[in-house]
Structures are given as structure tokens and as C-alpha cells.
Amino acid sequence: MEGRHGQKKEKAESPEALKAREEKEAVLVREYLGLKDSLKEIVDSNRRDNEALKITTALLRKSPDYYTIWNVRRTILKEGFLDNANEETANIIYTNELEFVQDNLRLNPKSYFMWNHRRWCLENMSKPRWDKELGMVGKFLEMDARNFHGWDYRRYIIRQVDLQDGQNKDTVLARAQTEFDFTTAKISQNFSNYSAWHNRSTLLGKLVENLTEQEREATVDNEFDLVKNAIYTDPEDQSAWLYDLWLIGREQRSISTLGASVISFNPLEIVVAFDEIVKLRHPFTVSTRIDHVAIPLAGEWRATGSDASLGSVWIFQQAPEVEYGPSVEVVIFSDDICAVRAGSTLPAAVCFELETLNQDFASISGRLGRLEIGKNLMYDVTKRIGPIAEPAGNLETQERSKKHLVTSLTTSGSMDDRVALLDREIASVRELVELEPDCKWPIQILSTLLSELRKTMSIHSSRAKEIDDECIELQEKLISIDPLRQERYEDRRTQLVFDRETLSIVKDSKRLPEVEFAENQPRDLDLSMRGLTHIPISSYFIHLDTLNLDSNAITSTRFLRNLLSVRRLNLSNNLIERLEGVQHAPSLEFLSLEGNQIAKWEDVMAGFVFWREGKLSRTGATVKVLLGLNPVVENEGGEYVLEKRWEDVGEVGVQIQWQTDEVRLAEEVQLRDDEGVIHMEGTRRVSATVVEFDAGAGH
């Protein structure tokens, strides 16, 4: 690395000592600059002889990272010596170079350019002695068992030899086994050799490829034993624990499609909700049937939020002037979406049938009201109402055989095997938790194992609830013994609490462990005083009318973008500094932000941004926002604030009004850019009136 590392600062010297040192230093500088002058001569005169080589030797001894000199040296060697040398002579030259590098590596084991020069020699030699190299790097790793240059070089040697072998399967495997044994030796010398654990993980993946299921299990059990040896020796050492986590692996995450609903008939608008953020690869297929003929329905899919290409809630709006029949069907193919979270996939196609015959939407005039959840046909997608122009995806009618682990080595198709393994490991780590109650690692591993186990069961089972409760307790324990990472545990705790508190919203899907919306959605949800730091899955909330999040630790309101039906929202006493995501909370009438950390008026207004025309854009409607006990109220309040004194009133806030089309259009003319294009998206579409509410109003 480029900076100074590990150089102790010396105590102040006496004037005499300083002078002596300065004189000595001056000699060294003169000497070095002399060498540099000679180098310049060489370069300018294209000298390629022994004398030139000696100059580079002297300079590189002093400045091994002076990469230009390595380049000069290679040019001298090549043009002055190697180009006209026979094989034997060339080998002698390269061998000398290797010795030169080796001498220098002892002093500068972390010089990239030195290791690089060594590779250059070996790659250009006719008969490189890889066995000797392996011996060299073995000794090297005895001196410093964690030097990553050394480990990188070791892997490089093996790769080169494998290539020379023409990738002969048996010898390659045998070599991997030898290297695996090398990591065993290194780990037994010192359990905290993370470099060795790491290398072991790369080798083990290769070695188990050719094993039978039974042999593989035995191998993995051996690994668990090795880990146990290590963690009982030093339970605070993270190397073995990180390896343990990898052995346990994680259930591959399936994206759940929670449901689909019609939210407007004119224009036709459909909402689809997922349980995590996805990117659209191909638009979902929408079709309708008119006179018994199925036809594709043109339109546009957009995610809610400021970035319309990314979200967990997607809204379709039909193209203008297109007719549709009594029912509409939405098909989402596996590869229509890609997850933002690594490793998540939509395991199979999903299909929803939506009733559009009865257009009595009186209940949603002015607001969305209660959304009818479309019929989920996901298990029977072949019964589509007709041919649909298929995107690049395949329509999967059968469940794929599910792999139960992310790590290749313990992958098993059997849920029972998975549960057995988890139960065994849980029992084993519980022993250590008892022995070492204040060590964070076994607690973290226990929590991970329990969470994995929970993925194998119904979310409504009593065992699942027990697990959630225990995991929440474990996070609280972790917060107390490892305060440095307090907020990480709080985020995890938030997820657990959220899962536990939203059980009325979702139910198990037939395709476990996926979930979907329950038939009867709660209208109100009280999540006050739950210690939530964020809202893990905001798409769960698209049907809610009233949401109470009073007295949590929420910092961001971006989740608001998915609260399509919410009318009343209490976010008082959180840690919010800025309002975001109100683009399309079209039903919102009342929002309390009392007791937050909003310091600027702009930070409230900026939250109200236009999304697009349609059901979710409202003009003329007003939202009452309470802002008492925020710094914005105590600050002078900016240009918006009335001259009246805030403190005198019971409740303070602002009445925010979505602008009418006339006002908006008048403003947009001024937003035309040089080419006359109107900037529509992200345009603020609200005006605000600061008002004082009567004390007690809105409660």
C-alpha cells in the first residue's frame, strides 16, 4: 500500500544528534540522486548492458516500488540479454532475477511490483520450476502466515501448474487436496489464520463437487468439527465463526408476489406488490378478453417512488383510448424481474386474474378505499384466458426443485435434512452460549440458525412465534454486550419485530416459504413504541387506512411511497430529518410529524413530489401536517412562516395542497428548458399554507 505503515515516531533529538542525522541523510540523498542521474543516462542512451542493469539493481534495493525502474530493468534484460540468449543462458538470467527478487522480498514482503517481476520471469522461462516456487512461498508463509501477497502467489502457482497439466481432472483434484491439507496444517498451527480459512472455503467447493451426497455430508460434518475445535479454543476469534456461518449457509430467498389489484378503471390502473425491491427486466404481461379473443393490453409499468425503475410496488397504467373487457390478466414471468437483494429470485411465474366487469367503484371515488385483491392463479398458469405474447421468459408450470442452501457444499433437496442439520447445530451452539454467556459470537450464530430454521415452517405456527421472540431477546442481549454495533442489531431486531407484528397482513403461500396477502386486510395497524429503526417491507402496507408509528426510531420516510391507501399516519416522536416519498399517498389527509428532527421548511415541502397523472395524482386535495416540537418551529422558520409566534398555539403545522391543474400548467410553462421540453417528473406540485390548528384538533 502507498502510505507509511508501522513507522514509530521517534522522540525529539538533541541538536547534536539532529545535525549528525541530517548530515548522514544528506549523504544518502546525494548518493540516491547520483544513481538517478545514471538511470537517466541509461534511458536516454538506450544502454542495455551489465552496467545499466547494476544501476537498476542499486535503485530497486532502495526504492522497490519505483515501478518505472522495474520496467527499465525488464527492457534491459530482454533487449540486451535475453533476445540473443540460448535457452540455457536465458534460464540462468531468469534464475538470477528470481534470486534478486527473493532477496528483496525479505525486506519488502508487501511490494506488488516485486511479486509481479517474479511472475514475469516465470512466465517467460522455458522450464519454470513451480515446485521450487511452492517451496519458496511455503517458507514465506511460515514467516508471515497472513501475507495476502504470499497467499495470492500460492494460488497463482497452483493455477499455472493446473494449466500446464491441461487441466487434467485427477491431478488438479489431487493438487486441490494437497492445498486443502496445507490449510489444515496452517489452521492447526493457529486457529485465527483467516487467510487459511478463506483458502479452505475456495478449495472445499471444488473438492466436494465429485462426491456423493453421503461423502459430502461426511466432509461437511468434519468441517463443523474443525470449527468446533477452533471456537472452543478461542470463542472470541472471528475467523472460525465466519467459516461456521458459511457452512450453515442460507436458504435461497424467494421473492413473494403478494398480490395484484385494480385501483382505477379509467384509465385502467393495476397495482402489483412484491415483498422486496425489484428491477423490471421485461414489463409484466397484461391481457384482456374482448369477444372471447384474448388480446394484449398496452400500457406502462412504473414503480412507485422517485426512481420508477426500482421498487416493491408496481403500477400499470393502460395506454389511452384502449378498450378492455370484463377481466384482465397479469402474468409475471420469473425473469421479468431481477432482485436488488443478492441471491433473491422469483421461483416461478405468477398469474393474477382481475375482475373488471363490475365497474362500480363508488367506494373509491376520491380515494382508493378498500382494494379488492385479485385472484392469484399462480399454481395454474396454463389456464390463461388465451395466448399471450410471451417475453423472453418461460412459463413455468411446475415448481422447480428447491435447493435449500446458498453454499454449494451442504446443498440438499431435502427439507428434513436441513431441519436436522439446523437442530443439531442449534443444540451445539446453545451449549457454548451457556458456557460463554457474554461472548457475542455464539449468540449471533444461534440467532442466525434460528432464523434459518424459521424459514422452514409456516409463519403462523407457534414454533415460528417462539423463534421470533427468542431472536428478539438475543438481539437485545447483543446490544448490551457489543455496543459498537448496536445499530446493526437494532436493524435486525426491527426486522424481527416487523415480521411478528404484520402476521395479520400476510399468510403462507402454497409455495413455502413465500407469502401473499391475507384475504381480509386489517384497516388499521398500531406499531407505536416498537423500537423500529425502519420499515422493512413497506409493500405490506398498501391497503392500510390508518398507521400508527408513534415513538419509534425511524429515520427515513421513503416507505411512504407505498402507502397507497393511507389516510391517517402518525409518525410523531421519531428521528426524521426530512419528509420523503409522499408522491403517491393519494388518500393521505393527516400526517403527524410532531417531535421529529425536521430543521428546514424545505425538508417538509420536498417530500411532496408529483408522480404521474392517474388515480394516484390528486389535485386540489389537502393534507394536514403537524410539525410541533421540530427544530423548524423553533428556528426562525424561513420565508414561509407566519409572523405569528408558534409557541402560542397548541398544535402547529401546515396545510399542504396539491395544486390544481390550472396552477400547475401555468408553472410548468416556466419549466420548459431550452428545447422547449417540459420537465414533468419530480416537479413539486404542491402549495402550502402555514396554519395554526386549534389545540386538540386532529387527535
Binding site: 544518502l28 497467499w151 429503526t533
Partner: protein, 325 residues
């Protein structure tokens, strides 16, 4: 949630650091000055960035530096670490970063810089460090960072899908990234890989929870961060770890107050400058990354740094990249 403030954190020695950086070029009596000549252009980037974050952008003579940098550019478009030093992607990125920070790209031939970088692009998606062919995920990041700053990621000579594939192959069992496929996870390599994937809009290949977890375990009891498990803390990891956490939106997963205290304790109270850890000799590299770390932690009075490009946020805003990622 805020952490309880760490007891008696030292102050940031702003004026002393400015003085330290300004005087770096006057130490010609020290052998060290000459032995680090190959890092002169990188050093200018570290010093420039640190001074901008300290709010003293004018402390170095911009014209003089631009004139010098122009002399470091070779005919093939690449920059050397100093005049007459061979071109390398590391110094090329530094030069471009300084010129953009000064808003002086007009001084050089940008097309040729792009030619140089694309000439180092390999069929497997990697970039070499220079004409001699060494590859490392660091060089991928240097190339992408530079091309992104120059708005030339759409160059037809690039195959960035391959680059993403290659980076994914460098991902390890712990969620981190190494210098090459099979290479051990290391916070600096994590930074360059997360940065590359972020620039390419491909963060979906990162398991943010797993990697954020690993990164937050880099914090030691004294508040400092290490680069790999069971290693010592070092101020420069304040940047590699923290910027990665920032790109993954998880800076709060470590204790910012304790890290702030650790960085401030590594300041040299006599000469100014920051060292790798308390009690050691300072250098401009650790001075810069210490200050960058403090900036990401929201240290009062410091100019905000961009976690991807490691340049002042306002510069990244000026060139229109701030909302891209």
C-alpha cells in the same frame, strides 16, 4: 439512535494539517522525499482532496500543479507517477481526479486518456495496471472511476458486462471481495469492487447484509478499523470500510463516535498530518483518508466527501454524477 459521545475526543488540528500538506514539497533534504517520487501524482491527489475537505482549496497553487500534471502525461494518454515515470492507471486516475477537482480538464487531452484506459481493457473484463499487464480489481475500479468522471463509460471499446462477471467471480464465502478470483476479502478490495459495481449500477450482486456485517466487524474495541479479520487497526481503513458501508447505506452499523476519536488520536500534534495509528509517523496518504473518514462520519466543519469517487461531494455534483448512483 445516537451513541453516547466518546469521552474527550481530541480536536481536529485543521490549520496544522493544512500546513503539513503545504510543506510536503519542501522536504527535499529527506531521503524519503526522493524515495516516494513515484507517488508524486497520487500524493497531489491525496493532498488536494484533503485540503478541499478541510475547506482550504487554495492552499496549493493550482496553476503550478496543473502545469506539472500536464508534464506527467505521455503520448499514449496515460499519466506517470512523476515526470519521466512510466504511465500507470493508478497515477492516471489521480491526475484526472485533481484536474476535475480544480475544474481544469481543459488542460489535457481527454480523448487520449480514454484511449489509454481502453487500451488496458482485457477480454475477460479486467483492466491492466499498465502495458506490462498486471491485473487486480483495484485497476478495474481506477478505470471505471476515471471513465465515469470523464463521462465516457459508454465507449464502444468497453465490454462492461464482462467486467461485472469478473468482479462477481471475486466474491468470497464471507460476502467480501478479493484482488482476483480466489483472493481473500480485504477492505480495500471490497471498496474497489463495491465502488465498481455501484458505478455500473450492479449492486444487486452484493449481499449488502452479509457484507455490511463483515465490514462492521472490522471495528475493534479501540474504535479503529482493520482491513481483515484478526489484523490490526489502521486509519486508512476508516476510508475503505466506511465508504463501502456508506455505498451499502449502512454507515450506522459501526460506532462513529469511537472511530472519530481513534482517527483524531492518530494526528501528529507537533507536525500536523495523520498516521496509520496513534504514535506513528504521519504521511499524506493517511492524512487524506483520515480526513475523508471524518467527513463521512459528518465531522462538523468538514466539506462532505463522496463515498464512491473519494472527492468533494460538491465537485461530483458540479459534474452531474451526484444523483446517478
Amino acid at each position: 439512535m445516537s451513541h453516547s459521545p466518546a469521552p474527550s475526543s481530541p480536536e481536529l488540528l485543521l490549520d496544522q494539517h493544512v500546513k503539513y500538506i503545504k510543506e510536503l514539497d519542501t522536504k527535499k533534504n529527506d531521503l524519503e522525499y526522493w524515495l516516494t517520487e513515484h507517488l508524486r501524482v497520487n500524493g497531489l491527489y491525496w493532498g488536494t482532496t484533503a485540503l478541499h475537505l478541510l475547506g482550504r482549496p487554495e492552499a496549493l497553487d493550482h496553476d503550478q500543479i496543473v502545469e506539472y500534471l500536464v508534464k506527467c502525461q505521455h503520448d499514449n494518454g496515460g499519466f506517470g507517477g512523476h515526470i519521466d515515470h512510466d504511465p500507470h492507471i493508478l497515477s492516471t486516475l489521480s491526475a484526472v481526479q485533481v484536474l476535475i477537482t480544480y475544474d481544469r480538464l481543459d488542460a489535457i487531452n481527454v480523448d487520449r486518456v480514454v484511449d489509454y484506459i481502453t487500451s488496458l481493457h482485457n477480454p475477460d473484463g479486467t483492466f491492466s495496471g499498465d502495458a506490462w499487464g498486471e491485473t487486480d480489481t483495484r485497476f478495474i475500479f481506477c478505470a471505471l472511476n476515471c471513465l465515469s468522471l470523464l463521462k465516457r463509460l459508454d465507449d464502444k471499446r468497453l465490454n462492461l458486462d464482462k467486467t461485472i462477471e469478473y468482479i462477481v467471480r471475486c466474491r468470497n464465502f464471507d460476502g467480501g471481495f478479493g484482488s482476483a478470483p480466489g483472493g481473500e476479502s480485504h477492505a480495500a478490495q471490497v471498496y474497489v469492487c463495491v465502488g465498481s459495481l455501484t458505478i455500473l449500477g450492479a449492486q444487486q450482486h452484493i449481499d449488502a447484509d452479509q457484507l455490511g456485517w463483515w465490514l462492521s466487524e472490522r471495528q475493534l474495541k479501540n474504535g479503529g478499523l482493520n482491513g481483515r479479520p484478526e489484523k490490526l487497526e489502521d486509519v486508512c481503513y476508516s476510508w475503505w470500510v466506511l465508504s463501502s458501508l456508506s455505498m451499502l447505506k449502512r454507515v450506522h452499523w459501526i460506532d462513529g463516535a469511537k472511530l472519530t476519536k481513534f482517527i483524531l488520536e492518530a494526528q501528529d500534534t507537533e507536525t500536523g498530518g495523520i498516521s496509520d495509528r496513534p504514535g506513528n509517523l504521519p504521511d499524506v496518504f493517511h492524512t487524506n483518508f483520515g480526513i475523508c473518514g471524518l467527513s463521512l462520519l459528518g465531522y462538523p466543519g468538514l466539506v462532505v466527501v463522496d463515498p464512491i469517487y473519494c472527492m468533494p461531494r460538491h465537485v461530483i455534483q458540479r459534474i452531474g454524477l451526484a444523483d446517478k448512483h
